[in-house]
Symmetry: C2
């Protein structure tokens, strides 16, 4: 399985992207990585590296790089030879099975969408992000690709999220919850009330409304919401976790006994951080397009890149796009059948 | 200043409500509290209490109690002699300056709204909740009273939130941020893009869009959003903080050195908890009605009740409703003036 890696994307590229690729190739036998970017720079760094399997790490030149603060439309139109564009083109041409990027996430998404196009039957591709719970993890979908949504879009997010969870975790019937405010069936806003009815009728294991206070308990495997809510949840969680660690440190500093306590607690704190660290989850797939595309955080470490390559490999191997297309076609058929039944009385 | 306290409202009522009232009267000279509820029960418990100023703690009988899981419409229609209803009626009749309740928050809000009515010019009263930041606190408005909003509603939330912050914290020009996804002016969903223009033109210190990752840094004093988003943020924060503490404990258990570390760190952890504890903020006001109404968490401790009584007293003293009514009238005038100017070319 060949993964096209946008080697120039991310705050610490290409150091962490190269290192992540090397780790991935060392750890997984069935993966090879093509590094896309300035070939002079990439070769120079690769040559300084320890020994690696040269057949499984290759380089392809791209003359441009998208900056982190560039306008998406401009980058799309003008930078036809950017590292992200060349990487996505490889998937389009069948020269790679998946693309991974930690660069400008808006541009990465828009490029994947423009070049690879929506999968058959999908109205709105969506970003699926794994978040930690007390017991394990849940999948949040949509985490920011679609800010204004119709009920049908959320139905498709639920179908795609459920298929993804099944494919990656081997869970037979993932529990799908609808993000709302209030657990009763009738609670929520206009959008979620409509979505509730659709999810109730859909061919998924729908457990009803879930609230923000419940999601971290592991009550649902997949949590469905529009991209504005999803992105807000994602960023509030990130911001709060950072703030809590800072507050804890402020409380500790100046207390001698506490400082000693902190040292003794360090292994526990390290373990705790690992559980809440997005590096572990390995980026977020853009689901519902013709191809596999993993978007990573700009701050990704080499470990995050390695894990993203792993997830890309898993999704491409499981043929997630085919599964999603089939699920959505089946759902459409089911809806048409219901409509016919209603029409015939 | 007399505060009507729904003594039967809350998971641990009337024990914590009575204790909270006693603490408030002991701590603040200018406050008296009327406990509303089953007078037999209330008197019996009061008599068992330590000495207190009998002139400043009084009891009024109410024969009914609203259960935590009761349907709001039913409770409103049928329980005319419930403790929350009698308490709100006191404000209506001018027999108390403010009402505080830790009971069924939907019923408390609906009762306050039905009995006291919206303040002149206010379209949608809103709940304002204080949340912790690394530096201090920010005010989240609306935190759940209005799930589907129009741009004008969010403009009013901004005006009310700014007035409240000024009145309670004495900050001249509170920094008002609009909750969005992406800090650039053009980012957000249909609603926030419209609201952005209104806030830009409003007579407040508008600092632009803020993201979930920024709010806990203390970047804005007041964060404006619709009630669905606000309630989600509130509950996600609550759920995440709980989950993080649980994860930390799980990591600690089983590690001897860490257990010792935890003991040594306890004072710091206690201090940290105090900063993130909603007990400190003392409930959330329902702004934009003719009267002062503070809604507390059902899990409120006596300290939370005491703090809510303090906030009720502050708001009534500052005459927050008059300030809000004036701010909104001024904003309406300003908008009409602009419209006239546009019409006249």
């Amino acid at each position: 399985m060949k993964i096209a890696l946008d080697a120039m994307g991310g705050d610490n590229a290409p150091d962490v992207t190269i290192e992540g690729a090397l780790q991935a190739v060392n750890e997984y036998d069935d993966v090879s990585v093509e590094l896309i970017g300035d070939s002079d720079v990439l070769w120079k760094r690769l040559k300084a590296e320890r020994k690696y399997d040269e057949k499984r790490i290759t380089v392809r030149h791209a003359s441009e790089v998208v900056d982190m603060d560039e306008a998406t439309s401009q980058a799309l139109r003008k930078k036809r030879d950017s590292s992200i564009r060349v990487a996505v083109d490889m998937v389009k041409k069948g020269e790679a099975e998946a693309v991974v990027s930690a660069g400008h996430s808006g541009v990465a998404m828009a490029t994947a969408l423009t070049v690879l196009k929506k999968a058959p039957g999908v109205d709105r591709p969506a970003i699926a992000v794994l978040m930690p719970t007390v017991k394990g993890r849940f999948l949040l979908i949509d985490a920011g690709a679609n800010v204004d949504c119709k009920p049908d879009n959320l139905l498709q997010f639920a179908l795609m999220g459920s298929s993804y969870y099944k494919a990656v975790y081997g869970v037979g019937e993932p529990k799908v919850g609808l993000m709302s405010i209030g657990e009763e069936d009738t609670k929520g806003n206009e959008l979620t009330k409509e979505v509730f009815k659709l999810l109730k009728a859909a061919n998924i294991n729908f457990i009803g409304n879930v609230e923000g206070k419940d999601v971290f308990t592991g009550m649902a495997d997949v949590v469905v919401c529009d991209g504005f809510i999803g992105n807000t949840i994602l960023k509030v969680s990130e911001g709060l976790a950072d703030a809590l660690m800072k507050m804890l440190k402020t409380e500790i500093s100046g207390r001698m006994a506490s400082k000693l306590g902190y040292l003794l607690m360090k292994p526990a704190i390290r373990g705790f951080r690992r559980r809440t660290d997005y590096d572990e989850s390995g980026g977020a797939p853009l689901l519902g397009i013709n191809g596999t595309c993993i978007i990573c955080h700009g701050r990704s470490t080499s470990k995050a890149i390695k894990n993203a390559i792993k997830v890309a490999n898993q999704l491409a191997t499981a043929n997630i796009n085919k599964i999603i297309t089939e699920e959505i076609a089946m759902s459409h058929k089911q809806i048409r059948k219901k409509e016919r039944q209603l029409a015939e009385g």
